[in-house]
Amino acid sequence: MEQKIITIKEQIETAIEQRENLKIVGGNSKSFLGRDIVGSKIDMSDYTGVISYEPTELYISVKAGTLLSDVNKVLSEKNQILAFEPAEVNEKTTIGGVVATGLSGPRRPYAGSVRDFVLGISCINGLAKNMSFGGQVMKNVAGYDLSRLLTGSYGSLAVIYDVTFKVLPIPEFESSGCKQTSRQEALETMSELSVKSFPVSAACYYDGLLSVRFSGNKKVVKDSMQNFSLQEMDNSEQFWSELRNFKLPFFNSEKPIWRLSVPSSSNIGFEKDDYVIDWGGAQYWLASERPANEIFSLAEGFGGSALLFHGGDRSGDVFQPLSKGIFKLQQNLKQAFDPYRILNREKMYKTL
């Protein structure tokens, strides 16, 4: 066992004895996410490196503290990518944080989410037990799928220390186009893009402009651009990276920033608030001073959920409140992994 794993186990054992909370930290690039919490630090940022990478097996295993930029670099040398396009919030973003928050980028509706690409996780639970679930192979149904359960659990079930992802080849060709249009028309185009077999890999509406990225065979991409009369974007790389990394001018808003995950047919109109539509209509970024309850019920009304992404009151509800039955199961699961409620206590919900 690596020294770092032993240290984490010891930290947890001590915390159990002293009934103390632990706060898991990677690069701290997304520390603005989730509820405000206190606790002594488990620092993952010094636990770094690629454990194994086999391009022909389509997987990479990395230690949680490894920088996302380093992983991307290693993959690009072999013409491969993490297809869920995770955000590099800043140069300190680690792979552990990517998995713990489970946030996926613009390619998500067309390629899949973080959890879709997680093949295996090694972790230490709140009882200091060291465990591995899943593995390196694509198909694996032995035991419950705990590596996917841990993805997006905000470190509140276990300390994730090694992760294996499925990786994919870089698309052979990419091109992006845009056009000025109304929200209504933009959403209709987005819907048409996914109902037919167009090689779309991102679709966003921002500031009156619909932007679409196509990835795949060159001729098919070019034909698709023509089909929708899109004008080739000259700053496409920059635009998609700003959208992915929360760096569009929209994200500089002084107001609290909300993320709404809703069915792609929702078509929500915001009169007063600034917004960005991503994921082909299934994700809205909203800058708004409206009270949290109002936003939660708005999202719920469309069959989706809201997350207070940035700013606002981080001592209240940050994640969409859950129904009683579902919340009970969440509490039971917390109990199953971390019965003393030591790990990232209250990060997701006040009573988890």
Binding site: S104, V137, N140, A142, Y144, P169, N217, V220, L322, G325
Partner: protein, 480 residues
């Protein structure tokens, strides 16, 4: 146990009490394991399922859910003192939303019926287990089933959005949503592949995909199984993800040819089927690339299907592989380990050594693209000792898979069949964590008891040592 009371909640004909009527359901497709259920119920409304579960919960009665009973690991094997809850009457497609590309269906809807129902919209449901004419979507979710096209389009877990489930206490809950993700822990992922241990699935929202406008199949023959294995890695290394990539060994090819005359080259040591899909331009370019690659990797023959019909003919042989094997032996035992692709040749040669050791023939057909093996062990249950030998042979294959970094099951589930091998793949702490997760949903352990996760005592009795994933070689296997 008095099951008569269940007639309070269900019409008389939906509660089967006579031994004769119960015996019909004594096993799933793993027929070596049989138990006559204490009682069989066939509800047709959510309220009835809730009432049955509440009654069982209050009276500590075990409950086993069953879809079509095509499972290959004994997951739906009944409990002698329990209720077998059959979901087959829930066979309605509730809603198709072509614009959002989703369908909301009841759990007893057959896999293929979904694609049939959305055909007119040029859509389909991607996961396509070979049993798709018969198996239900509820069973598919419970097993996280895969199919030939999962290499490119993912498993069940990648193709569903929302479940409605009933807990053992009888509560109806919605997991996931029609949005792409949902708040809280990912219960949707946890439920998928949970083998009926956590709750009863009563509705599924599946994602639908647009039908690719064009597809073609290539058939390549090799005189050496290692070359065939290497070409699989070669295709993927070149940035190509085929829609399907299947392999069959010589014994498989011969069995298929004798059965349906698919036109496979019988002299080959292995054949590979590779399906490419997309737009016509895209597919035609990729076919050329793959053809060249296959030849570079030593294929002695590569055939490209001329049209849709020939593509179907190439597939016909692969799809008939199981029944074809059924003709050459009285019984066969289908294994389901998954391994890293690069070890395909090594594992196949070790399986052949084991085949000699156990004096049982084996046929290999498998999803080569994702390293999911289906060795079919041939035996005759009428010959004393052969079933036991087949099971021991199978167990050795699974241990071999774990020892090189693979898993004991890629898509068929653990059920009762691979419960002992779970002790090889997982440590005590890991198994204990599984038990804790189970308790989070089903404290009394009434749902499908004795399946999927072995007790620690059982592992101690089985005497298997935990093989640390791919790091230690399994000592037993070093001898051959």
């Amino acid at each position: 146990m008095n099951f008569d009371n269940l007639r309070q909640f269900l019409p008389d004909e939906a509660v089967l009490l006579s031994e004769e009527s119960r015996r019909v359901y004594e096993c799933d497709a793993l027929s070596a394991h049989r138990v006559i259920p204490g009682c069989v119920v066939l509800p047709d409304s959510v309220e009835q399922v809730q009432a049955v579960l509440r009654y069982c919960h209050a009276n500590d009665i075990p409950v086993v859910a069953r879809g079509a009973g095509t499972g290959l690991s004994g997951g739906a094997m009944p409990h002698a003192e329990g209720v077998l809850l059959i979901l087959a009457k829930f066979d309605q497609i509730i809603e198709i939303d072509a614009k959002q590309r989703i369908a909301r269906v009841q759990p007893g809807v057959r896999n293929l019926a979904i694609s049939d129902a959305v055909k007119s919209h040029d859509l389909y449901y991607a996961p396509d287990p070979s049993s798709q004419i018969a198996c239900t979507i509820g069973g598919n979710v419970a097993e996280n089933s895969g199919g030939v096209h999962c290499l490119k389009y993912g498993l069940t877990v990648h193709n569903i959005l929302q479940l409605k489930i009933i807990t053992i206490e009888g509560d109806l809950l919605t997991i996931g949503s029609h949005a792409l993700d949902s708040p809280g822990y990912d219960l949707l992922a946890l439920f998928t592949g949970s083998e009926g241990m956590l709750g009863v699935i009563i509705e599924v929202t599946v994602k639908l995909l647009p039908k690719p406008p064009y597809s073609r199949v290539l058939l390549a023959a090799f005189d050496d199984i290692e070359k065939a294995g290497n070409s699989v890695a070669g295709i993927i290394a070149n940035g190509i993800i085929p829609a399907g990539l299947e392999m069959m060994d010589k014994a498989g090819v011969r069995a298929v040819e004798d059965y349906i005359h698919a036109g496979y080259p019988v002299e080959a040591e292995a054949i590979l089927l590779c399906e490419l899909d997309g737009t016509e331009d895209e597919v035609l370019v990729t076919i050329d690339k793959v053809e060249t690659l296959l030849k570079e990797y030593g294929a002695i023959e590569v055939r490209v299907a001329r049209d849709e019909n020939e593509s179907l003919q190439f597939w016909a042989g692969r799809k008939a592989a199981f029944p074809a094997v059924g003709r050459i032996a009285p019984d066969y035992y289908c294994m389901d380990g998954t391994i890293p692709r690069k070890h395909i040749a090594e594992v196949l040669s070790k399986i052949n050594i084991l085949s000699e050791k156990y004096e049982l023939a084996v046929v290999n057909v498998f999803h080569a693209g994702d390293g999911n093996l289906h060795p079919l062990i041939l035996y005759d249950v009428a010959i004393p000792g052969e079933l036991k030998r087949a099971e021991a042979f199978g167990s050795d294959i699974l241990k071999l898979c774990v020892s090189i970094g693979g898993t004991i099951t890629g898509e068929h589930g653990v059920g009762v069949e691979k419960i002992n091998e779970m002790c090889v793949q997982f440590s005590e702490d890991e198994l204990q964590q599984f038990h804790e997760v189970k308790a989070a949903f089903d404290k009394k352990g009434l749902l499908n008891p004795g399946k999927a996760v072995p007790t620690l005592n059982r592992c101690a009795e089985f005497g298997a040592m935990h093989v640390h994933k791919g790091h230690d070689k399994f000592p037993d296997l070093e001898r051959f």
